[in-house]
Amino acid sequence: MTRSKVISGLKPILFTLPAMVPFVLFWLAPLLYVLYLSFTEWDFMSPEKTFVGLQNYADLFSNPAFYKALRVTVLFCAGSVLPIILLGLGLALLMNRKLKGSALYQVLLFSPWVTPTVAVSIVWSWIYEPEVGLANTVLDVLGLEKIGWLQDPEWALVGVLLVTIWKSVGWAMIFYLVALRNVPSDLLEAGDLDGASAGQKFFRITLPLISPTTLFLFVVQLIQALQAYDQINVLTQGGPSGSTRTLLYLYYQSAFESFQIGEASSVAVVLVTICMLLSVFSFGVSRRTTHYQ
């Protein structure tokens, strides 16, 4: 091989290195490392890591706290993803017909999405203040009982979910608006000619055509929900009595508060596995059912 050939063979490698080196260092290596750590017992301080095999997993799967966190995670996912998608779609449908000034509404509805979660969560923790907070004042005016939004284990998850939904619903709406605009009007007109009702047109034409957007929002929001940390940290820190402690929060607490690295790692591995299964599953679903044009 001539020298110039070697150089031209190396070029693609040089082009990929700036992305691949940090990717391997901060993404791939940690992923393998966490798998290894999940088979060990370690407290962060001592020089030795003890290999314990599957012990951490056995402990985890027999720990009621794990199942409680799993339950909170499922509730958090369902309680954020479904409202965000349904409300986003509903609003987009309402806005899709010509409406003057809708650009202004879009900006206002979208604005929470660009703001730091920590800052808006702090604002919401003032709104949720039990005595004079805005939320309870409104309930009071309506003649309803005050709620311990972040103090009552029955309501704390609802409080966190409201902030989460508030932050993302405008974002989902914009995605749906784009998708709705791409639905060919001649298809809908053909539906009119065939005498289809508005409902039939929506379920038979519009909904299948925007299904890639629905799938995309579903996957992205689900992965976001599994990773939610900032708002939980500011609003409730997993409490009261674990009512807002998701798997991710459990992982954070066992790693950086109680320094049980092995246990924490096994929670991380479970979380990664769930995410990958969901991604693969939705990829499969998208191949079967979504309609790309």
């Binding site: 063979g9 693609p12 082009f15 990929t16 700036p18 992305a19 940090p22 990717f23 260092l25 901060f26 993404w27 791939l28 290596a29 940690p30 490392y33 750590l37 449908l93 309402l94 409406l99 202004l104 509404y105 879009q106 900006v107 604005s111 929470p112 660009v114 703001t115 730091p116 979660t117 920590v118 800052a119 808006v120 702090i122 604002v123 919401w124 003032w126 709104i127 203040e129 004079v132 805005l134 508030w166 405008g170 914009i174 784009v178 508005a198 890639p212 957007t213 995309f216 992205v220 992965i223 990773q227 940390y229 900032d230 940290n233 991710l248 992982y251 950086f256 690295i261 979380l271 995410c275």
Partner: protein, 280 residues
């Protein structure tokens, strides 16, 4: 819903105006609470507008914690990450779309795999890796550990795929190097994707909290979210000085709302592109 659409313009206007006000109300509440005295803010029922707006609360909050430093850190770190991501995702996407090499399939596969891994789940080992590299508590650690984004690579790859091969081949015939073709031919045609990438990345990184908080214990290196949070919890402020906390939240949020207002077209456009790149 159908009833609403049938009733036509005015009713829908009323509906959206009310909804938009409701969505924006927390921001209004933040600013007006920031202007109240500690006495007034605890009054029930609350006042919609402070009796005497105390604009000095903003200055007081600003001086009570090093917010200039926090915001400077956030802007510096976010801007550095934006530049690095533009460079490395541009080069990576170029290699994936316009170069032929043996490991291409493997690299593309590894990146796709990375897309499925939630970043937060690997924070613990990521922390240990950074500590091995002696990058904890440093700007370099904050910047380098965030300098590659799979989303960015997908977005730019998608943009490059839409550029015709002939344009690149014409450059090759003229004897231009790959670097030259990438930065003087491809990037200018796909600049709107790069603008979207820069904006989204800047917003994300400015708002970043969990990871920067884990890897920097030095208060001088804190980003604005973590700084605000420590002001909220520590500074003796928790639950006692709500007006100052609201003022601090307001100037943390304000730059982003401003960026958003100035660049809303690009940001809204980003939705179109991310939806597009997700199909790729």
């Amino acid at each position: 819903m159908r009833i609403l659409t049938r009733l036509g313009g005015p009713v829908r206007h009323l509906f959206f105006a009310a909804l938009a006000l409701l969505m924006a109300f927390p921001f209004y509440w933040m600013v007006t609470s920031a202007l109240k005295t500690n006495d007034e803010i605890w009054r029930s029922p609350p006042t919609l507008w402070p009796e005497v707006p105390l604009w000095g609360n903003f200055a007081a909050a600003w001086n009570e914690a090093p917010f200039a430093r926090y915001m400077g850190n956030s802007i510096f770190v976010a801007a550095s990450i934006v530049i690095l991501q533009i460079i490395n995702s541009g080069m990576m996407a170029y290699a994936l779309t316009h170069m032929k090499f043996r490991l291409k399939g493997l690299f593309a596969g590894v990146i796709l795999f990375g897309y499925m891994v939630p970043a937060t789940a690997v924070y613990l080992p990521g922390y240990l890796v950074l500590s091995e590299l002696h990058l904890l508590n440093s700007y370099a650690g904050l910047i380098l550990s965030n300098c590659v984004s799979i989303f960015a690579i997908f977005l730019i790859r998608q943009a490059f795929l839409q550029v015709s091969h002939e344009l690149v081949e014409a450059g090759e015939v003229d004897g231009a190097s790959h670097m030259r073709i990438l930065w003087t031919v491809l990037v200018p045609v796909t600049r709107s994707s790069f603008a979207v990438l820069a904006l989204i990345t800047f917003i994300d990184q400015y708002n970043n909290y969990f990871w920067p908080m884990l890897i920097t214990k030095n208060p001088d290196l804190q980003l604005v979210s973590a700084g605000l949070r420590s002001f909220f919890v520590e500074g003796g402020a928790y639950g006692l000085q709500w007006p100052l906390i609201m003022a601090a939240s307001a100037f943390t949020i304000a730059p982003l709302l401003l960026v958003f207002l100035l660049a809303q077209k690009t940001i809204m456009q980003s939705v179109n592109m991310t939806a597009g790149s997700s199909k790729g």
